[in-house]
């Protein structure tokens, strides 16, 4: 669940207010957005992806809030991880666009499994459903 709007980084663009699909944030005139409805957070992490200032932190647990220490979080790379690994913003130029590597992973995983178990391996059709 969403846990932090990191005050020292937030630039008050209110993009999180706009893009949150479950309307978790409220804009505050002259101030940083606030987490107004934490219980409505669906833990999709998309606010982090859209935040240009790496100023948001979503905790890993989708079932209950887990209060965190802001200083401890800003010492990690977690708030910027999703945006960096997706190649958004300033990460765009040097991001490897190798998402099609999934085409390699599907046969690779099937081959690893086919070699080791007694149960018959499913064809790619049965397992592609999980390949999203």
């Amino acid at each position: 669940m969403i846990e932090l709007v990191i005050a020292s980084r937030c630039i008050d663009c209110d993009r999180c207010v706009k893009v949150c699909p479950t309307n978790v944030f409220d804009a505050v005139p002259g101030g940083h957005p606030v987490i107004a409805r934490q219980q409505d957070c669906q833990t999709c992490f998309l606010c982090e992806l859209y935040c240009p200032a790496d100023a948001l932190y979503v905790g890993p647990d989708c079932e209950r809030p887990e209060p965190v220490d802001e200083q401890a979080i800003t010492a990690t790379d977690w708030p910027q991880q999703y945006r960096r690994d997706s190649g958004w913003g300033k990460n765009r130029q040097d991001h490897p666009n190798d998402v099609s590597y999934m085409q390699h992973m599907l046969p690779e995983a099937l081959a690893i499994r086919a070699g080791e178990d007694e149960a018959p391996a499913a064809g790619p059709r049965g397992d592609e459903a999980a390949a999203r």
Binding site: D40, V99, M105, R113, R125
Partner: protein, 587 residues
């Protein structure tokens, strides 16, 4: 009194996920005046936005074999003409993204069929929809349809979550693209998918098919939403006794993991993933590692507990039974695109997750968008000068919304749903007076009601391993919740139902959020009752639908289960390819 926005459009699209954005784009490209309303934000709403999607993207010469394989996997419930049309439309339309979306390249060619990055795809779709001239209204959930006196759809109305107050939009055509529902299983990106469109369609008289095929599950780390499941192919699984589970594939492995999860915790470690794949994983599925690393787990060396998240009708099959090739929803002026529509014609009893469902969003969005634009050119929207209350007066409340022609159908009312084969029809449930406003759960109870519905439709022992007895027990529980529905949840909070026809827009009591929650909860209960009734009507096992008490396929049920109705839920078993035939038998 809160503000009210009074809007008019040629085409109103409800829902801005993958199907809704293709529908809005397609309608606008035909010259229609289009408004798209989204419960959240067009770009992050819907299950595509968090996913890495593939498309059915096959050259013509590869399609025949694909249709044959899918028909077999889908338990012979598919309709090949729909499959070919879907593949062809996706084949024609996807290259249109080339100037906007950065496909990966291989051997100098764009790779368009697999692992399309959901957030980027939806960002591109939003931009294209806007550039095509569509008005996008984010945080504008729809809560009810407006209808003409003859029952045809005249628009919709809903709430303005951020601006406050309500909106109504008169339109020549309405496209429902509200997605499937996972019954709040915490499937990634699916919390807004609460079957709102299903409920609105049912109130207008639409029917559903394939709702029993709603028992597909996806792995995630326990307590996380992260159903980007492919890396789990590389896992070593252990049950609560520490015994290794012989995982070979998702197809055989998931039921085994489910049985172990019913007994106790199951752990996985992704130790079989080769080093070069581990290194590239963050760029292939950029969100997969987020919850793990934040929990202090190195998934390649540390065993961690897993859970199974229900996919409901999302990677299930069921939805609004379309009545024509342009995605007509069975009500004049209403269309359905994407996961809110039944995908039984293209995938049968098997999951359409992976490639068919995404292609279906492209194709059904295209067809419905173009057809809605044609209708708008033919039949102008109710004029801006007309009194919205005239439309409101003609709103047909759910209490009188049995499907057209239902007088020819006998309702047994026994609650057991006896089925003897194609053509037979049974009804169940209780009828409630339309004017009843007494009792009902309150806003304070809503969260608990939602938890109950989620458990009845997601618990592994209830929904993955089904029995007639268990399904009837779940259905009785949901029937009971339905009879206690607060009046405002029944007809849409800002819609004057039959209870108060005099006030056009009284405004919902409480905040928009609470009003929306009540309405969503009604939709979840209704959709749950259609799922359970359909599963009861199919006492056999086929595709993803597994009845412990009927483990074999019954050739007599190579048929479509249709369901409809609100106070009284009806089911009918009909031949797959002649939908009119059963109606003739019934009358």
């Amino acid at each position: 009194m809160p503000d009210h926005a009074d809007l008019t459009a040629g085409v109103l699209v409800i829902g801005g996920g993958l199907a809704g954005s293709w529908a809005a784009l397609s309608a606008a490209q035909q010259g229609a005046d289009v408004i798209l309303v989204d419960k959240g934000y067009c770009g992050t709403s819907g299950v595509t936005a968090t996913a890495g999607v593939g498309h059915w993207y096959l050259p013509p010469e590869a399609r025949e074999a694909e249709v044959a394989a899918r028909t077999r996997a889908g338990g012979d419930l598919t309709e090949p003409d729909w499959m070919y049309r879907t593949m062809e439309t996706a084949w024609q339309r996807l290259p249109e993204l080339d100037p906007y979306y950065r496909w990966p390249f291989r051997d100098g060619q764009p790779v368009r069929n697999t692992s399309v990055r959901g957030p980027e795809y939806m960002r591109v779709m939003r931009a294209r929809v806007r550039r095509a001239g569509v008005t996008i209204l984010d945080h504008h959930p729809a809560t009810g349809l407006l209808r003409h006196g003859d029952g045809s759809v005249a628009g919709a109305s809903g709430l303005r979550l951020q601006a406050g107050g309500t909106w109504s939009c008169r339109a020549s055509a309405v496209i429902l693209a509200t997605g499937g529902t996972a019954f709040l299983s915490r499937l990634l990106g699916a919390n807004n998918n609460t079957a709102d469109g299903h409920l609105m369609a049912a109130e207008a008289g639409a029917r559903f098919s394939g709702m029993e095929f709603s028992c597909f599950y996806t792995l995630a780390a326990a307590h996380s939403t992260m159903t980007r499941a492919f890396p789990f192919m590389y896992g070593t699984y252990r049950d609560c006794d520490g015994h290794e589970l012989p995982f070979a594939s998702f197809q055989t492995g998931l039921p085994m993991i489910a049985k172990a999860l019913i007994r106790g915790p199951v752990t996985v470690v992704l130790d079989r993933m080769p080093r070069q794949t581990r290194e590239r994983l963050p760029h292939v599925q950029p969100n997969f590692l987020l919850p793990l690393l934040r929990s202090g787990i190195d998934p390649f060396t540390d065993p961690f507990p897993v859970t199974l998240r229900g996919e409901g009708t999302i990677r299930g099959t069921g939805g609004i039974a379309l009545t024509g090739p342009d995605c007509e929803a069975g009500v004049e002026g209403l269309y359905a695109a994407g996961d809110v529509a039944s995908r039984q014609p293209i995938v049968g009893a098997a999951s359409g997750g992976g490639q068919p469902n995404s292609a279906w969003c492209v194709a059904s969005g295209t067809w419905s968008g173009r057809a809605a634009a044609r209708r708008a050119a033919r039949e102008p929207a109710p004029s801006t000068g007309s009194d919205p209350r005239r439309l409101a007066h003609s709103f047909v409340g759910p209490g009188s919304s049995a499907a057209p022609g239902s007088s020819s159908i006998t309702a047994s009312g026994t609650g057991t749903g006896s089925i003897s084969g194609p053509g037979s029809i049974s009804g169940r449930g209780r009828t409630r007076g339309t004017g009843s406003t007494g009792g009902g759960w309150t806003d304070a109870d809503t969260e608990e009601v939602r938890r109950i519905v989620s458990r009845e439709l997601n618990d592994l022992d209830k929904n993955m391993f089904r029995t007639g007895e268990g399904l009837r027990r779940s259905l009785a529980r949901l029937d009971d919740l339905w009879t206690q529905l607060p009046a405002r949840a029944r007809s849409g909070p800002e819609n004057p139902g039959p209870e108060n026809p005099g006030s056009a827009n009284p405004g919902p009591p409480g905040t928009g959020r609470d009003a929306l929650r009540a309405r969503e909860t009604a939709a979840l209960i209704a959709a749950g009752r259609w799922v359970l009734s359909s599963a009861i009507a199919r006492p056999e096992s086929r595709g993803m639908h597994h009845r412990v008490d009927a483990p074999d396929r019954d050739p007599g049920l190579t048929a479509t289960v249709r369901t409809w109705g609100l106070d009284e839920v009806m089911t009918a078993v009909e031949p797959v390819r002649e939908p009119e035939a059963a109606g003739r038998v019934a009358s």
